[in-house]
Protein backbone atom coordinates (compact mmCIF):
# COMPACT_ATOMS: atom_id res chain seq x y z
CA UNK A 1 0.00 0.00 0.00
CA UNK A 2 1.43 3.32 -1.03
CA UNK A 3 1.80 5.96 1.59
CA UNK A 4 2.22 9.70 1.28
CA UNK A 5 4.08 9.79 4.58
CA UNK A 6 7.86 10.28 4.24
CA UNK A 7 9.86 7.47 5.77
CA UNK A 8 10.72 8.05 9.37
CA UNK A 9 14.41 8.83 9.88
CA UNK A 10 16.42 5.99 11.29
CA UNK A 11 16.88 6.19 15.01
CA UNK A 12 20.18 7.92 15.61
CA UNK A 13 22.39 6.96 18.47
CA UNK A 14 24.70 9.73 19.64
CA UNK A 15 27.97 8.72 21.24
CA UNK A 16 30.15 11.42 22.75
CA UNK A 17 33.90 10.89 22.51
CA UNK A 18 35.71 12.69 25.31
CA UNK A 19 39.36 13.62 25.64
CA UNK A 20 41.55 10.52 25.75
CA UNK A 21 38.70 8.33 24.50
CA UNK A 22 37.95 6.61 21.23
CA UNK A 23 34.95 4.77 19.82
CA UNK A 24 34.54 2.33 16.93
CA UNK A 25 31.36 1.13 15.28
CA UNK A 26 29.87 -0.30 12.11
CA UNK A 27 26.33 0.63 13.13
CA UNK A 28 24.89 3.02 10.49
CA UNK A 29 22.65 4.59 13.14
CA UNK A 30 25.54 5.77 15.27
CA UNK A 31 26.68 9.36 15.14
CA UNK A 32 29.87 10.20 16.98
CA UNK A 33 30.19 13.64 18.47
CA UNK A 34 32.86 15.62 20.27
CA UNK A 35 33.78 19.16 21.24
CA UNK A 36 37.32 20.27 20.46
CA UNK A 37 39.46 23.19 21.47
CA UNK A 38 43.17 22.65 20.95
CA UNK A 39 42.61 18.87 20.97
CA UNK A 40 42.43 16.97 17.71
CA UNK A 41 39.94 14.27 16.70
CA UNK A 42 40.76 11.77 13.99
CA UNK A 43 37.69 10.40 12.23
CA UNK A 44 38.70 7.18 10.53
CA UNK A 45 36.78 4.74 8.35
CA UNK A 46 36.94 2.04 5.75
CA UNK A 47 34.41 3.06 3.08
CA UNK A 48 34.23 -0.53 1.81
CA UNK A 49 33.12 -2.14 5.06
CA UNK A 50 31.54 0.91 6.72
CA UNK A 51 33.56 0.37 9.89
CA UNK A 52 34.89 3.52 11.45
CA UNK A 53 35.50 5.51 14.57
CA UNK A 54 36.82 8.62 16.21
CA UNK A 55 39.46 9.49 18.77
CA UNK A 56 40.08 12.72 20.69
CA UNK A 57 43.59 13.43 21.87
CA UNK A 58 45.85 16.11 23.25
CA UNK A 59 49.62 15.77 23.25
CA UNK A 60 51.14 15.94 26.74
CA UNK A 61 51.83 19.36 28.18
CA UNK A 62 55.13 20.71 26.94
CA UNK A 63 55.43 17.97 24.36
CA UNK A 64 55.17 19.40 20.90
CA UNK A 65 54.72 17.32 17.81
CA UNK A 66 58.46 17.07 17.34
CA UNK A 67 59.35 15.89 20.82
CA UNK A 68 59.83 12.29 21.82
CA UNK A 69 57.15 12.48 24.50
CA UNK A 70 54.67 14.02 22.09
CA UNK A 71 55.32 11.45 19.41
CA UNK A 72 55.16 8.56 21.88
CA UNK A 73 51.84 9.63 23.34
CA UNK A 74 50.35 10.70 20.02
CA UNK A 75 51.37 7.56 18.15
CA UNK A 76 49.74 5.46 20.84
CA UNK A 77 46.52 7.50 20.77
CA UNK A 78 46.30 7.00 17.01
CA UNK A 79 47.29 3.35 17.15
CA UNK A 80 44.56 2.26 19.52
CA UNK A 81 41.88 3.69 17.21
CA UNK A 82 43.49 2.14 14.13
CA UNK A 83 43.83 -1.24 15.83
CA UNK A 84 40.22 -1.25 16.99
CA UNK A 85 38.93 -0.23 13.56
CA UNK A 86 40.95 -3.05 11.98
CA UNK A 87 39.75 -5.49 14.63
CA UNK A 88 36.16 -4.55 13.79
CA UNK A 89 36.71 -5.52 10.17
CA UNK A 90 38.19 -2.51 8.41
CA UNK A 91 41.02 -3.04 5.94
CA UNK A 92 44.11 -0.98 6.44
CA UNK A 93 44.62 -0.24 2.76
CA UNK A 94 41.13 1.29 2.51
CA UNK A 95 41.34 3.58 5.53
CA UNK A 96 40.57 7.25 5.07
CA UNK A 97 40.63 9.98 7.69
CA UNK A 98 39.20 13.37 8.48
CA UNK A 99 40.99 15.56 11.03
CA UNK A 100 39.37 18.23 13.15
CA UNK A 101 40.50 20.57 15.89
CA UNK A 102 43.86 21.97 16.85
CA UNK A 103 42.38 25.43 17.36
CA UNK A 104 44.23 28.27 19.03
CA UNK A 105 42.46 29.01 22.28
CA UNK A 106 42.38 32.43 23.83
CA UNK A 107 43.68 31.32 27.18
CA UNK A 108 46.76 29.50 25.95
CA UNK A 109 50.14 31.15 25.68
CA UNK A 110 51.58 28.46 23.47
CA UNK A 111 49.75 27.31 20.41
CA UNK A 112 49.35 23.70 21.48
CA UNK A 113 46.57 23.26 18.94
CA UNK A 114 49.03 23.65 16.08
CA UNK A 115 51.33 21.06 17.67
CA UNK A 116 48.44 18.59 17.85
CA UNK A 117 47.39 19.32 14.27
CA UNK A 118 50.97 19.05 12.96
CA UNK A 119 51.40 15.72 14.71
CA UNK A 120 48.17 14.26 13.32
CA UNK A 121 48.96 15.27 9.74
CA UNK A 122 52.50 13.95 9.95
CA UNK A 123 51.35 10.70 11.48
CA UNK A 124 48.82 10.02 8.72
CA UNK A 125 51.34 10.95 6.04
CA UNK A 126 53.91 8.57 7.56
CA UNK A 127 51.36 5.77 7.81
CA UNK A 128 50.05 6.28 4.28
CA UNK A 129 46.46 6.95 5.38
CA UNK A 130 44.59 9.37 3.10
CA UNK A 131 43.18 12.55 4.62
CA UNK A 132 39.92 13.21 2.77
CA UNK A 133 38.62 16.17 4.72
CA UNK A 134 38.30 17.96 8.01
CA UNK A 135 39.25 21.28 9.51
CA UNK A 136 42.41 21.95 11.51
CA UNK A 137 43.92 24.97 13.30
CA UNK A 138 42.29 28.36 13.19
CA UNK A 139 40.98 29.94 16.36
CA UNK A 140 38.36 28.79 18.81
CA UNK A 141 36.53 25.55 19.36
CA UNK A 142 34.47 23.22 17.25
CA UNK A 143 31.62 20.82 17.76
CA UNK A 144 32.05 17.84 15.42
CA UNK A 145 29.54 15.22 14.38
CA UNK A 146 30.66 12.17 12.40
CA UNK A 147 28.80 9.25 10.90
CA UNK A 148 31.40 6.48 10.42
CA UNK A 149 29.23 4.37 8.14
CA UNK A 150 28.94 7.13 5.52
CA UNK A 151 31.93 9.29 6.35
CA UNK A 152 29.73 12.36 6.64
CA UNK A 153 31.07 14.96 9.05
CA UNK A 154 29.67 18.26 10.27
CA UNK A 155 31.33 20.90 12.35
CA UNK A 156 30.26 24.19 13.81
CA UNK A 157 32.11 26.79 15.81
CA UNK A 158 31.44 26.92 19.50
CA UNK A 159 32.12 29.66 21.97
CA UNK A 160 34.61 29.30 24.81
CA UNK A 161 31.76 28.92 27.25
CA UNK A 162 30.59 25.76 25.56
CA UNK A 163 33.98 24.10 25.64
CA UNK A 164 34.65 21.53 28.30
CA UNK A 165 37.50 22.17 30.68
CA UNK A 166 40.57 20.54 29.23
CA UNK A 167 42.53 18.41 31.62
CA UNK A 168 45.95 19.87 32.30
CA UNK A 169 47.49 16.62 31.14
CA UNK A 170 46.12 13.73 29.12
CA UNK A 171 44.66 10.94 31.15
CA UNK A 172 47.44 8.67 32.29
CA UNK A 173 47.76 5.66 30.09
CA UNK A 174 50.90 4.29 31.68
CA UNK A 175 51.26 0.94 33.26
CA UNK A 176 49.16 -2.11 33.24
CA UNK A 177 47.60 -2.49 36.62
CA UNK A 178 50.85 -4.11 37.48
CA UNK A 179 49.84 -5.07 40.98
CA UNK A 180 47.98 -7.91 39.38
CA UNK A 181 50.85 -9.15 37.28
CA UNK A 182 54.51 -8.48 37.70
CA UNK A 183 57.03 -10.34 35.64
CA UNK A 184 60.50 -11.05 36.91
Amino acid sequence: MASSEPPAPAASVRVHVGQGEHYVTSDPDVMLTTILGSCVAMCLRDPVTGVGGMNHFLLPEGAGSGTDAGRRYGAYAMEILINDVLKAGARRESLEAKLFGGGRMFDSLKDVGVANADFAERFLRDEGIAVVGGSLRGSGGRRVQYWPSTGRALQRAVTDQALPAVAARPRPVEAVDAGALELF
Binding site: D68, A69, R71, R72, Y73, A75, Y76, M78, E79, I80, I82, N83, L86, K87, R92, F123, D126, E127, G128, V173, E174, A175, V176, D177, A180, L181, L183, F184
Partner: protein
Protein backbone atom coordinates in the same frame (compact mmCIF):
# COMPACT_ATOMS: atom_id res chain seq x y z
CA UNK B 1 77.72 -6.48 31.21
CA UNK B 2 76.55 -6.72 27.61
CA UNK B 3 77.19 -3.84 25.24
CA UNK B 4 73.98 -2.46 23.78
CA UNK B 5 75.78 -1.85 20.50
CA UNK B 6 76.41 -5.59 20.13
CA UNK B 7 72.75 -6.60 20.45
CA UNK B 8 71.09 -7.16 17.07
CA UNK B 9 67.43 -6.23 17.28
CA UNK B 10 64.42 -6.97 15.13
CA UNK B 11 61.58 -4.45 15.52
CA UNK B 12 58.17 -5.76 14.43
CA UNK B 13 55.21 -3.39 14.28
CA UNK B 14 52.65 -2.63 11.58
CA UNK B 15 52.91 1.12 12.16
CA UNK B 16 55.89 2.87 10.68
CA UNK B 17 55.61 5.62 13.30
CA UNK B 18 55.89 3.10 16.12
CA UNK B 19 58.87 1.34 14.53
CA UNK B 20 60.61 4.69 14.20
CA UNK B 21 59.88 5.51 17.85
CA UNK B 22 61.26 2.19 19.03
CA UNK B 23 64.34 2.58 16.85
CA UNK B 24 65.14 6.09 18.10
CA UNK B 25 64.51 5.03 21.70
CA UNK B 26 66.91 2.08 21.31
CA UNK B 27 69.48 4.37 19.73
CA UNK B 28 69.32 6.57 22.81
CA UNK B 29 70.16 3.51 24.92
CA UNK B 30 73.15 2.71 22.71
CA UNK B 31 71.73 0.15 20.28
CA UNK B 32 73.14 0.29 16.77
CA UNK B 33 71.99 -2.83 14.94
CA UNK B 34 68.36 -2.91 13.81
CA UNK B 35 66.16 -4.60 11.30
CA UNK B 36 62.45 -3.98 10.92
CA UNK B 37 59.36 -5.88 9.82
CA UNK B 38 55.81 -4.63 9.38
CA UNK B 39 53.91 -7.77 10.43
CA UNK B 40 54.48 -11.07 12.18
CA UNK B 41 54.98 -13.07 8.99
CA UNK B 42 57.64 -10.69 7.74
CA UNK B 43 59.21 -10.72 11.20
CA UNK B 44 59.41 -14.51 11.18
CA UNK B 45 61.00 -14.48 7.72
CA UNK B 46 63.61 -12.01 8.99
CA UNK B 47 64.33 -14.20 12.01
CA UNK B 48 64.67 -17.36 9.94
CA UNK B 49 66.93 -15.62 7.43
CA UNK B 50 69.14 -14.13 10.11
CA UNK B 51 68.24 -14.59 13.78
CA UNK B 52 68.41 -11.47 15.95
CA UNK B 53 69.42 -11.43 19.62
CA UNK B 54 66.34 -9.45 20.57
CA UNK B 55 62.84 -9.20 19.09
CA UNK B 56 60.67 -6.25 20.12
CA UNK B 57 57.22 -6.94 18.73
CA UNK B 58 53.79 -5.36 18.78
CA UNK B 59 50.86 -7.66 19.50
CA UNK B 60 48.17 -6.32 17.14
CA UNK B 61 49.43 -6.92 13.63
CA UNK B 62 48.01 -8.28 10.37
CA UNK B 63 48.83 -11.75 9.02
CA UNK B 64 50.57 -13.04 12.14
CA UNK B 65 50.15 -11.26 15.47
CA UNK B 66 52.77 -10.89 18.17
CA UNK B 67 51.75 -14.06 19.99
CA UNK B 68 51.91 -16.04 16.76
CA UNK B 69 55.36 -14.66 16.06
CA UNK B 70 56.49 -15.49 19.60
CA UNK B 71 55.26 -19.08 19.28
CA UNK B 72 56.93 -19.50 15.89
CA UNK B 73 60.22 -18.05 17.15
CA UNK B 74 60.18 -20.38 20.15
CA UNK B 75 59.33 -23.39 17.94
CA UNK B 76 62.22 -22.88 15.53
CA UNK B 77 65.55 -24.10 16.99
CA UNK B 78 67.82 -21.47 15.38
CA UNK B 79 65.65 -18.64 16.76
CA UNK B 80 64.27 -20.08 20.00
CA UNK B 81 67.02 -18.56 22.14
CA UNK B 82 66.26 -14.99 21.08
CA UNK B 83 65.04 -12.60 23.74
CA UNK B 84 61.47 -11.48 23.04
CA UNK B 85 59.83 -8.33 24.40
CA UNK B 86 56.13 -7.84 23.62
CA UNK B 87 54.55 -4.40 23.29
CA UNK B 88 51.08 -4.23 24.79
CA UNK B 89 48.26 -1.82 25.47
CA UNK B 90 47.32 -1.12 29.05
CA UNK B 91 44.28 -3.38 28.99
CA UNK B 92 46.13 -6.44 27.76
CA UNK B 93 46.74 -8.23 31.04
CA UNK B 94 45.38 -11.47 29.64
CA UNK B 95 47.65 -11.16 26.63
CA UNK B 96 50.70 -10.78 28.88
CA UNK B 97 49.72 -13.91 30.76
CA UNK B 98 49.41 -15.85 27.51
CA UNK B 99 52.71 -14.45 26.27
CA UNK B 100 54.37 -15.64 29.48
CA UNK B 101 53.04 -19.14 28.78
CA UNK B 102 54.62 -19.01 25.33
CA UNK B 103 57.99 -17.88 26.65
CA UNK B 104 58.07 -14.10 26.38
CA UNK B 105 60.99 -12.56 28.26
CA UNK B 106 59.39 -9.26 29.14
CA UNK B 107 56.64 -6.87 28.12
CA UNK B 108 56.42 -3.12 27.62
CA UNK B 109 53.27 -1.06 27.94
CA UNK B 110 52.60 1.65 25.37
CA UNK B 111 53.13 4.57 25.45
CA UNK B 112 56.53 3.95 26.98
CA UNK B 113 59.47 6.15 27.87
CA UNK B 114 63.08 5.51 26.96
CA UNK B 115 63.78 4.75 30.64
CA UNK B 116 61.01 2.13 30.69
CA UNK B 117 62.34 0.54 27.52
CA UNK B 118 65.83 0.44 29.01
CA UNK B 119 64.50 -1.13 32.20
CA UNK B 120 62.71 -3.87 30.26
CA UNK B 121 65.72 -4.61 28.04
CA UNK B 122 68.04 -4.69 31.07
CA UNK B 123 65.55 -6.98 32.79
CA UNK B 124 66.42 -9.50 30.05
CA UNK B 125 70.09 -8.83 29.27
CA UNK B 126 71.34 -7.32 32.53
CA UNK B 127 72.77 -3.83 32.89
CA UNK B 128 73.83 -2.52 29.50
CA UNK B 129 77.01 -0.67 28.73
Amino acid sequence: MPAASAIHTLIVDDQMSMRALIRTSLQQIGFREFREASDGEAGLREMITKPAHLVISDFNMPKLDGLGLLRAVRAHPPTQGAAFIMLTGRADKELVQRAVQFGVNNYLVKPFTVAQLREKVEGVFGVLT
